[in-house]
């Protein structure tokens, strides 16, 4: 592009001394861009409005909102966990089972009468260990991450059967339960606060540190990143370990909150986490896996399920809703992306 009019503009810009152009605020206020980046938020608000009009006393009650917030804290943390490997360009299918084994170990350990800090440290460390083994298998041994973590998930569900002796297990430690169930001012359970803290920390790491930038580069162009001096193996490893850490935290909180666990706990958390992460990649920073988009995704799915549930819809409706919401959001984002690519092909 040498002498087109936009080029003349570019050249004057390159020669000028003004600071780099920030993404203009004006552009984000255009309706197209607004829908592109905040479509999910708009849809979430719309859904809350509709359900509130339909069920002003049941759905639109402080108690129900607090319940949704608290119930989604652990699934939300797991959704944050999957963002890390996804950003680095890999799938980690073991986070659900990892959360399961951490929940179960937390309950078992709490039952032994160990001091609480030790229980917490041990269960979270277990999550990190699982992540480290995943990292070893994929990076050092070189197994495809999809397969390595699938294998890991299978092993963990087996161990869960062993640990629980194939029956429901419970713990009775009140201190452990209070860790999540305590209400903070406003009446919300404290577990919501942990979720937000984790989201804030992850957002900061991904968006405000070189670590986040290099992790993205590792995911989007590994060879180029490596040759630019990024130690991509280290970043990849950290993504799996970070996912393990978050799954471990999620599992510990689940143990504290639920107080009980079935032997098959865990895997059912996996797909909603990925659904939320992919939904999230269509919002806020469209086209990139990102924290706030994922948080929105988690609550979008949860509000839909909750509203339909209170409306008296059968369980299958909720499943269909979740699937349709995911497909519609991701297709819409793909279409927008394609249109954008076409318009700039000039």
């Amino acid at each position: 592009m040498l002498t087109t009019s936009s080029d003349a503009r570019d050249r004057s810009e390159l020669q000028g001394v003004q600071p780099p152009k920030k993404p203009s605020k004006r552009r984000q206020l255009q309706p197209g861009a607004l829908m592109r980046n905040y479509g999910i938020a708009v849809f979430l608000l719309l859904m809350i409005a509709v359900f509130s009009i339909l069920m002003p006393t049941t759905f639109a009650s402080g108690g129900n909102f607090r319940q949704i917030l608290a119930d989604q804290a652990v699934p939300g943390i797991l959704a944050l966990a999957v963002i890390l490997p996804l950003t680095a360009g890999e799938f980690d299918l073991s986070v659900g089972a990892n959360l399961g084994i951490c929940t179960i170990s937390g309950i078992v350990l709490a039952g032994t009468g160990l001091p609480l800090p030790l229980v917490l440290a041990a269960t979270i460390a277990l999550g990190v260990l699982v992540g480290a083994v995943n990292a070893y298998m994929t990076i050092v041994v070189g197994v495809n991450a999809f397969i390595a973590t699938l294998g890991m998930a299978t092993i963990l569900s087996g161990i869960n059967l062993l640990l629980t002796n194939s029956t429901l297990i419970t713990h009775t430690s009140e201190a452990f339960g209070a860790l999540t169930n305590t209400r903070i001012p406003g009446g919300v359970q404290v577990v919501v606060f942990y979720f937000l803290a984790a989201a804030l920390a992850l957002w900061f790491i991904l968006e405000r540190t070189p670590y986040g930038r290099y992790l993205r580069a590792t995911g989007m162009g590994r060879d180029a990143a490596e040759l630019s001096g990024v130690r991509t193996r280290g970043y990849l490893a950290s993504a799996f370990i970070g996912a393990g850490l978050l799954a471990g935290i999620g599992g510990t909180l689940q143990a504290s909150r639920a107080g009980s666990a079935t032997p098959d706990l865990g895997p059912e958390f996996l797909l909603p986490a990925y659904a939320a992460a992919f939904l999230g990649a269509t919002a806020i920073r469209a086209g990139f896996f990102n924290v706030w988009g994922t948080v929105l995704g988690v609550y979008l799915l949860a509000v839909g399920a909750n509203g339909l549930d209170i409306l008296g819809a059968k369980t299958w409706v909720t499943h269909v809703f979740n699937g349709v919401a995911l497909l519609v959001a991701v297709s819409a984002a793909t279409l927008v992306q394609r249109r954008k690519a076409k318009s700039r092909a000039s």
């Binding site: 592009m1 540190t209 070189p210 580069a217 989007m220 630019s228 086209g287």
Partner: protein, 522 residues
């Protein structure tokens, strides 16, 4: 000789959001000849090709005749194919896992009675073989395309473009006659088919295009390599800013006059430095370097020196660069940098030792396509803008902006994905990033691939300026144009070691080509 033009393009324009990418272009492509379509990135070349391929719709009013018959615009890709237009891009559109014959069939139909009938493999191979042997391409139709060398793959792609269209169920008795008919009927548009090929592979592809012409085939050839154009083109058509500025027989034009036709003005060349200016201290030394195609190689580089490294395919050029950049480990031999042993286990260590690299495969190894221009400019170099693990984004953006200006990167904004930039501008980003860590040694592997003439000159000038400030520059390339007027010395490699050295006035295209040919196994 058929006097009806193979293609007659009349009054074709294309407007993108108010900007005219093509402005009422009239062009006749003569039958049975090779027409070179030239122009810098952004001149409208690819827009024109995409209109012919049915990817873009032109503005209303334009007309297109193929062999005298009007073809309604806009075309669909299917209509373009049916009209006999064939396109070959840099990525050849071949499926690696399939055989040559299957790849032919993908474009022109399988030898089967209908879609669900069994494929007659023998007959299909025969058809493919007929076209291949007509063009003198020695490859078995049953070989998977993935096994073929890059030049053979390109040739297979070209041959496929001249395969006659075969309706399912229809069988002919004379595949060879069919092949000739296909050759005469189709018009092949080649879009930089040799851009990623080393010179001697490219030469084989050019041979093939000459064979095509002998059989009466028509081709439109797009390339940035002027030497190729001089060799095979009968006509040149030059686009500049969306307008056709020349369409004429090539005649005896020399490279310089073709380039000024394309650029629209004379190119400025940096003056050659005198010998006295070149005397720096020895910065880098390799002794007995061996491993992966490099064999017992000795090399030394002075500060501020620009060293060219060339040779035939497999001479170890790229491998040498990768070893020096820390992307590959030598099995024996030593390297010294600034008098100290130098053995970087990874590119990150090499960069820390002030050795930076511009890799060969830009789209894979050079840039992260979906990240912004700014992010690509500072990739791997964020440490200086980081305090306690936190990125100072303002400082980083300022730095990226400055780099963009210094290295003449033309982009709408730093946030634009780098995939929207032209090849030349992408390459300037990679060079800017490599140079931004103020390396004492800068390595470049095939720096001009897919880079237009102006950007190429700009990059050459930037390298000269870096060298003047004391950076040692090593350019590995098969495009000898990269060295003339820029390099202080040129090493010709043969099977992993230095076979010849040229310096000063001895560096000319002819001399380098001669030295390379001497190393060729006879």
């Amino acid at each position: 000789m058929d006097l009806t033009p193979a293609l007659r393009i009349s009054g074709i324009s294309k407007t993108f959001t108010g900007q005219k990418a093509l402005d009422s272009v009239d062009l006749d492509v003569p039958t049975g000849a090779v027409t070179a379509l030239l122009g810098m990135n952004g001149s409208g070349k690819s827009t024109l090709i995409k209109i012919l391929a049915g990817v873009y719709s032109p503005d209303p009013g334009g007309r297109l005749h193929v062999r005298g018959t009007e073809v309604p615009l806009p075309l669909s890709p299917q209509a373009a194919h049916a009209a006999g237009l064939r396109f070959l891009h840099q990525d050849l559109g071949l499926v690696d896992a399939l055989t040559v014959a299957d790849n032919f069939a993908l474009s022109d139909g399988f030898a089967a009675r209908h879609r669900l009938a069994a494929v007659n493999v023998r007959r299909q191979n025969e058809h493919t073989e007929a076209t291949l042997s007509l063009l003198g391409i020695k490859v078995h139709p049953g070989r998977p395309v993935g096994e073929l060398s890059p030049s053979l793959r390109t040739m297979v792609g070209i041959a496929r473009a001249f395969q006659p269209v075969r309706a399912p169920g229809r069988d002919t008795t004379d595949p060879a006659a069919d092949g000739v008919a296909g050759l005469r009927r189709n018009v092949l548009v080649l879009d930089e088919p040799t851009a990623s090929l080393p010179v001697e592979d490219a030469s084989r592809v050019l041979d093939l295009i000459e064979v095509l012409r002998e059989h009466g085939g028509t081709a439109v050839y797009v390339s940035h390599r002027i030497e190729e154009v001089r060799r095979i083109a009968d006509h040149v058509a030059v686009l500049r800013d969306g307008q056709l500025v020349a369409a004429e027989p090539l005649g005896g034009r020399d490279s310089r006059s073709i380039v000024s036709l394309v650029v629209g003005r004379q190119l400025e060349e940096a003056p050659l430095r005198s010998a006295a200016e070149r005397e720096g201290e020895v910065l880098f030394e390799a002794t007995g370097l061996t491993g992966n195609r490099v064999r017992n190689l000795d090399l030394s580089l002075r500060t501020g020196e620009i060293l060219g490294v060339t040779g035939l395919v497999g001479c170890g050029r790229s491998e040498l660069v990768r070893m020096m950049a820390g992307a590959q480990q030598p099995s024996s031999g030593t390297m010294h940098l600034g008098g100290r042993p130098y053995a970087p286990p990874s590119p990150a260590e090499a960069i820390a030792d002030s050795v930076a690299c511009v890799p060969q495969n830009r789209r894979r190894d050079g840039i992260v396509l979906d990240m912004g221009v700014g992010d690509n400019l500072t990739l791997g170099r964020l440490a200086r803008h980081t305090r306690a693990g936190v990125l100072n984004r303002k400082a980083e953006r300022l730095h990226a902006d400055q780099l963009g200006k210094d290295y003449l990167v033309k982009t709408a904004s730093l946030e634009a994905p780098i995939r929207t930039l032209s090849g030349g501008n992408q390459q300037k980003v990679v060079v800017a990033r490599a140079a931004s860590s103020r390396p004492s040694l800068l390595l470049l592997d095939e720096p001009s691939q897919g880079v237009d003439a102006l950007a190429r000159q700009e990059i050459a000038n930037l390298l000269r300026r870096l060298a003047d400030r004391g950076t040692a520059v090593l350019i590995a390339s098969t495009d000898h144009d990269d060295f003339v007027g820029l390099a202080d010395r040129v090493l010709v490699l043969d099977r992993g070691s230095v076979a010849a050295e040229l310096s000063g006035d001895g560096i000319s295209e002819d001399n380098i080509a001669l030295a390379c040919q001497r190393t060729a196994p006879c």
